[in-house]
Symmetry: C2
Subunit: 557 residues, 2 copies
């Protein structure tokens, strides 16, 4: 292999430093998940295609990575082509008809085409012999296609009708090109179903729903599960968007208790506080509030337009927002009715009061107000560590599936980045797999973005990237054996130490420790060995001390 | 979806208990890897196909899971078919010839076939117009195929030649069926290269080699990396063999020092000792010893037969083994020369001495003896914790790539199971990707088998599966809030506690704690709340005590 090997676009290698930093975040998320009673499950990287397809919309279906069946996976595709051979037979007839037309030496294409249609029409259109062929020839598009390819062939072949083989070849080639396009012969979407029956996990929610339904008899509900695994999407790779990335999800299924929403806010707060992040904003909204607003503005189909416009209040001002709403077809009366939303400031309690009066006429809206009130009051009274809870009525993520609370997490204001987490409640999590009435609520952490935030704010502890504590310099096999005896004992005490494997120049060995960010070197040459000692050198300060084994152990602990 | 959802064969869901047990093993492996100075890397789940294909032999290529390209992946396949349309044109001629033959009313098939060949032969065999067509018709198999399908068509269609359309249809269908088989039109192997350019990781060694070459300028050598990630193989699933499983590998690249082999033996010992396994046998051999034996028996191609037979010594005795060797074509003289191997017992030191005298004439063999001696002596002098090192000259795994030490780990004798780990040294790890002279040595842990061994010997600590320490019983929102205040404080202290989310019947809540194996329940009803107390109930003993918050915290820590 001549060129340097590479990895597929949208994927990443993680270096030891990167793995250590990612593991640091994952470990804090896991610890908090478990403190809150969530239990880990793992599902296979690939699922049966029918489990995933159709669950994420048309766009999702396209972005799911499909795995090719093993063995002679094209067997059925070939069979299909053979069984559609009737179509091919028709083409011979078409060609025959065309040749007949040509031998009549028609000078005009239209004449040829008409003759062609005459011949074919006579044979197929009135025939009951083969419904399929009849259907094809009743199709105006097909007729036009036939006329057009016969014209084209005539033009390109010109007057030289002598070589019927060459003519046929030309016609066939032209026809097949069109035919594939028109009839989607070997169509990729259709063929995928025949040659791929497994697909890579696209998110963790659908596999979780599948897991719950499949193992429902072994699961004790309410079931609090967490899952930290990679997912794959055939998305166009771009900055910060990868084709393989981790999701970190915690969900409860089997209970409608709002205490879970309270706990999920605390869980977010717990993780971000442990990560040292100050001022993360956990934004909350409720699908029922949005439904209430839709009721009030009198157009549920305008809900997205409404929230998108309202979200721009800071940027384009009240007048700008109202103008956009009018442009989108929201009536002036409707906008007047929700006037309080244009001055939607104050504490959460004040905001909830405003919503209560605004949505008084909407039963569903008022249910949403009550839910929000319960969650926000309890969160406030229990206290947050380092995060802020805020009510954001423009929050409309997952509108298609969330039925209650909606969460989204914004990083500290000093960092310019999109959301670093999100979630919500969906009343029918497992319905797609036939298990009804299972309410679920969950949240997700955006590992890659959290990584970038922590990196930008310089919040990774220095110890994260320190792996080996001390490198023993190798002075040859006798001294190395002396070092190895100490190393074995130190490792038993849990201390990470290494021997430089080769008896290389001492400078090279120190250089190795330096490049690896190893903070100490242990010099155990002939002199030290004979005195049963070790020289411990601090590679940052340059300070060096002579120690016996116990002192060395103490110093490295 | 009517039927219960399922997962692809050969894959597994892991329940919370299974994840906890697996994580327990993985954590011990990781801790030891890091104590020995190995650093983690992670590579993408899929690699470019060219990175993987051809690296694991023909069998391996078959077992690699291929990922379907995105979008209209069949575009090029369709183009290929169109460009091979000349072949189709030939068939029309064949059919024409056949029809001509039929209209001559030949009564005998042979007559028809001969006429057919006459017509075709005349047209193509002497034609220089199309080399491809000429090649096809010069092919005896093709001629026979044509003759045979025309016969078949004739028989099945019988005397009714009137309907030339039906006849053509029949002939075409018969021909295409054969044609696909014969010429491998839409051949799966060939098509795979066109429709799939990515494949799932098959092991961790090839991606590691790719990683080292790709990032060689950023890597400080010798590079000690570990990697714990899933791999995928389209193998026939069977007991204990899965299509998705974890590999846990530690390798050093960039140094030939034998201290690494010494450390890898210690690393095995460290992991298995920490897992509480007594009497694991780490078997060692050396490729150079095997080469030496091959030299001595005078036939390197008989090496596998030789080691396989020798390995049966315990079962079929010396005579049985010798008989098998003779049957396999190993000469009596050769067998006599290696007579000491038939009584290959004693300490490692004694075994090494026997090998030294046996292989005295083989330079490579003696190099192997020296390497073994260095490794075994140092391991012995440094001491093992709970494992046994043994020299096994029948150990011949990875014969195609290992060049020095070969390792294989057998579980304690009381467990009947295959190897739970293996590894060795390969002098040219990265050569396949163009980076020469990089010696590597590494070992692997078989997670699934280790799990089964620990399970069978009942060595999982009970604490592994204890997740939540106490369940707070829910007596309604007021009491729940009182509980949640305590819960928040306990969690801050790192204690895993939960509130039952719903105000369900108390019996149901206790039952939930029981099913979840939660050892304690905390009763914080109206009375306890008013007294600022908590009743802590031990769910195993049934014992219940009244505590204030600090006492509760103390009790659950």
């Amino acid at each position: 292999m001549a060129s340097k090997p590479s990895i597929p676009k949208g994927t990443r290698d993680f270096s030891p430093t990167e793995v250590a930093k990612r593991q640091y975040i994952i470990q804090i998320i896991k610890t908090n998940f478990e403190k809150f009673g969530f239990q880990p499950i793992e599902t296979p990287s690939f699922e049966n295609s029918e489990t995933l397809m159709g669950k994420y919309g048309e766009e999702g279906d396209r972005l799911i990575f499909k795995i090719l069946n093993s063995g002679d996976y094209l067997k059925d595709v070939r069979k299909d082509i053979i069984s559609s051979i009737d179509i091919n037979v028709v083409f011979f007839d078409v060609i025959d008809a065309l040749i007949k037309a040509l031998t009549h030496k028609y000078e005009e294409y239209d004449g040829i085409s008409n003759h062609l249609i005459d011949v074919l029409g006579e044979r197929y259109l009135n025939s009951n012999e083969n419904k399929f062929l009849k259907d094809i020839f009743s199709n105006t598009d097909v007729k036009n296609l036939l006329i057009s390819f016969s014209k084209e062939a005539f033009i390109k072949t010109g007057e030289n009708f002598a070589d019927s083989l060459a003519l046929r070849r030309k016609i066939f080639s032209l026809f097949f090109n069109r035919y594939f396009e028109q009839f989607q012969y070997l169509n990729s979407n259709k063929t995928t179903l025949e040659i791929s029956e497994k697909a890579l996990r696209y998110d963790l929610t659908v596999p979780f729903a599948r897991y719950v339904v499949q193992h429902q008899n072994d699961i004790e509900f309410p079931f609090k599960r967490y899952q930290i695994q990679p997912v794959w999407r055939a998305d166009r790779p771009q900055k910060g968007r990868f084709r393989e990335f981790y999701q970190c999800d915690a969900d409860v299924v089997g209970s409608t208790s709002l205490w879970q929403e309270v706990e999920l806010v605390q869980l977010y707060d717990g993780v971000f506080s442990d990560l040292g992040l100050e001022g993360v904003t956990i934004k909350i909204n409720n699908r029922k509030i949005l439904s209430g607003i839709a009721e009030v503005i009198g157009a549920s189909d305008k809900l997205i337009d409404f929230t998108v416009a309202l979200d721009k209040l800071d940027k384009i001002g009240e007048d700008g927002v109202k103008k956009e709403m009018l442009q989108k077809g929201i009536s002036e009366t409707a906008i007047e009715k929700v006037q309080p939303l244009f001055n939607f400031t104050g504490t959460i309690t004040e905001k909830i009061e405003k919503l209560a009066s605004l949505l008084a006429s909407s039963e569903e809206g008022m249910k949403g107000v009550e839910e929000l009130k319960f969650i926000c009051e309890n969160v406030a009274n229990l206290g947050m560590q380092k995060s802020i809870l805020d009510l954001d009525v423009t929050l409309a993520r997952g509108l298609n599936y969330y039925t209650g609370a909606i969460f989204e997490v914004a990083p500290p204001a000093s960092v310019s980045m999109g959301s670093i987490g999100g979630g919500g409640r969906y009343d029918d999590l497992t319905g797609i797999f036939g298990l009804k009435n299972m309410s679920g609520v969950g949240i997700s952490f955006g590992l890659d973005r959290i990584y970038l935030v922590i990196e930008e704010l310089n919040l990774f502890p220095e110890t994260v990237t320190v792996t080996t504590k001390a490198l023993f310099i190798n002075y040859g096999n006798t001294e190395a054996f002396y070092a190895m005896k100490a190393i074995a004992e130190l490792r038993k005490a849990g201390i990470k130490v290494e021997l430089y494997p080769d008896n290389a120049k001492v400078g090279k060995q120190f250089n190795h420790a330096d490049k690896r960010n190893i903070p100490f070197a242990v010099i155990a040459g002939e002199t030290e060995m004979n005195n049963n000692q070790f020289a411990l050198k601090n590679l940052v300060s340059g300070e060096q001390v002579l120690l016996d084994f116990e002192e060395l152990k103490e110093a490295l602990l």
